[in-house]
């Protein structure tokens, strides 16, 4: 196939230039890869923090077990609630002893247990915000045997703000990185086309069809995007390993993101190349 052969011939004829433009594409996609890694981990961190948003319903010591059971069932059936767990006074004490050794010393012997029994309500992911939390809290408060309801109001508010900052930063940085990457890739491929302007001129001169002139560049662009994408993947993975080993624990991005990134790189490469060549086809 002529177009593929010609695209490969371009790499062969000007390896430095072709290598340079492939390297530029790889670096541009590497930036995107790092961004993807960072924003994925930010997202993970935020949602693990969100998982800790829960509503704790403290019950009076004189509440009857049948009342508690009913409340547990009813609260668990609220649309905002994922599940409700009963924590007895005994369990609360065991937990406190485990988490806070001083506490254990203080209340070492049997005797009084100052900790209340409670219902811990785990929330639906979509309900981990202030409004929903307050609704759940109000519903729990309605039971006469409920002593108090706690949900870390400040925590919920902070998390909400944090999430908004995260989303805004991700969008702004992502947009900027994508623009930079697009410019770099576009420039690299324009250079590649420019380097072959003499051949393009001759093709036009002797009557090559536009599509015929077009195709090798389309393939060259796609190839640059594909190889650059794979190189960027390797670089990003190496960075991930280094960060994991020397700095802190991070998660590797899902393979669907990787595949999507490489596919987008390939597509973008051929589109950018096609735009660059179109400019040349317009003249002469």
């Amino acid at each position: 196939m002529y177009a593929l052969r010609e695209a490969l011939a371009a790499f062969r004829r000007a390896p430095v230039l072709a290598g340079l433009s492939a390297a530029m594409v790889a670096l541009a996609l590497y930036i995107i890869g790092l961004f993807g890694l960072a924003s994925y981990n930010l997202q993970l961190a935020l949602s693990s923090m969100e998982e800790r948003v829960e509503v704790v319903v403290y019950l009076r010591d004189d509440a009857r077990q049948s009342e508690i059971d009913l409340a547990q069932t009813e609260l668990a059936e609220l649309p905002q609630v994922l599940g409700a767990r009963y924590v007895s006074k005994r369990e609360a004490l065991d937990r406190a002893r485990r988490d806070l050794p001083e506490f254990g010393e203080l209340f070492g012997g049997a005797g009084v247990n100052p900790l209340p029994q409670s219902l811990e309500l785990e929330l639906q992911p979509a309900a981990r915000n202030r409004e929903m939390v307050e609704q759940v809290s109000a519903a729990a408060q309605a039971y006469p045997f409920v002593e108090d309801v706690e949900y870390g109001r400040e925590w919920v508010d902070k998390l909400f703000t944090l999430r908004r900052i995260g989303a805004a930063t991700t969008a702004a940085l992502g947009g900027a990185f994508f623009a930079v990457a697009a410019l770099i890739i576009g420039t690299a491929l324009r250079i590649a086309v420019f380097a072959r302007r003499d051949e393009i001129y001759i093709m036009r001169l002797v009557g090559a069809r536009n599509g015929f002139i077009h195709r090798p560049f389309l393939i060259e662009g796609a190839l640059a995007g594909l190889l650059g994408g794979i190189a960027a993947w390797i670089l990003t993975y190496a960075t991930y390993r280094a960060v994991y080993a020397y700095l802190f624990e991070v998660a590797w991005i899902p393979s669907a993101w990787v595949a999507l990134g490489i596919a987008v790189g390939t597509l973008f490469g051929s589109v950018a190349s096609s735009l660059a060549i179109r400019k040349h086809l317009g003249e002469v």
Partner: protein, 232 residues
């Protein structure tokens, strides 16, 4: 689809004007025809519009007003996507050859064959045949930058012949050549013309033109056609 070519008239300019922004008119009200098999020269001093005329005839440029018809295709209706159709009927060579450096003579011709869709197996033999047609069969493998000017122009002519054109446009093809090489190239043009190919050549070398008294002669002056031997 453009109208089928009327091959009796290969090139027909009708009241053609060409204006370049800021530079003014390069051609004004130019009308003439080049017929099948004709040998024609266009002369004039520098800047008179010779190159512009040839560029229009190759559809490398469009007239500002008037019409250029080339082998049946009209400048008024031919889209830029279809210019290749004209290029396959009209070959062109230049003063500066415009070969691809770093490639051999046969590769330069082969490139033109390849990009016009010639079957891969035929490219080699056909390039060789074209080169021997222009008297260059022994230099086929030489890099074009190592060839003499006359030899490079022969490679360019061989390349212009890949589509077996009806007409060969030549813009000062001997401008960079010495007397001996000029003679060789002109002999080649006469030979090609004798086989039925029209040749339309721009030159300011009046002495050269005088050696071909039977050829058609057009003269431009400041963008106007001031002499046409066919109507004089």
């Amino acid at each position: 689809m453009p109208a089928p070519p009327r091959l009796a008239l290969l090139i027909k300019l009708t009241q053609v004007a060409k204006e370049y922004p800021k530079r003014g008119f390069a051609l004004r009200d130019v009308s003439f025809n080049i017929a099948k098999g004709e040998m024609a020269f266009v002369t004039g001093h520098s800047g008179s519009g010779k190159s512009t005329t040839l560029r229009l005839a190759h559809m490398a440029d469009r007239p500002t007003s008037g019409e250029v018809r080339v082998t049946g295709y009209s400048s008024a209706t031919l889209s830029s996507r279809e210019v290749w159709k004209v290029r396959r009927r009209v070959g062109m060579v230049f003063q500066d050859f415009r070969l691809l450096p770093g490639r051999s003579a046969v590769e330069n011709v082969g490139f033109a064959l390849e990009v016009t869709g010639v079957n891969r197996k035929e490219i080699g033999p056909r390039a060789q045949r074209l080169l021997s047609q222009v008297g260059l069969s022994t230099k086929a493998g030489a890099l074009v930058n190592e060839l003499s000017g006359g030899e490079q122009q022969r490679v360019a002519i061989a390349r212009a012949l890949v589509n077996d054109p009806f007409v060969l446009l030549a813009d000062e093809p001997t401008g960079n050549l010495d007397e001996r090489a000029t003679r060789g190239i002109m002999e080649l043009f006469v030979e090609l013309n004798a086989k039925g190919m029209a040749v339309f050549m721009a030159t300011h070398d009046l002495e050269l033109v005088r050696r071909y008294p039977k050829a058609r002669l057009l003269e431009l002056d400041h963008g106007r056609l001031v002499y046409d031997s066919a109507t004089a």
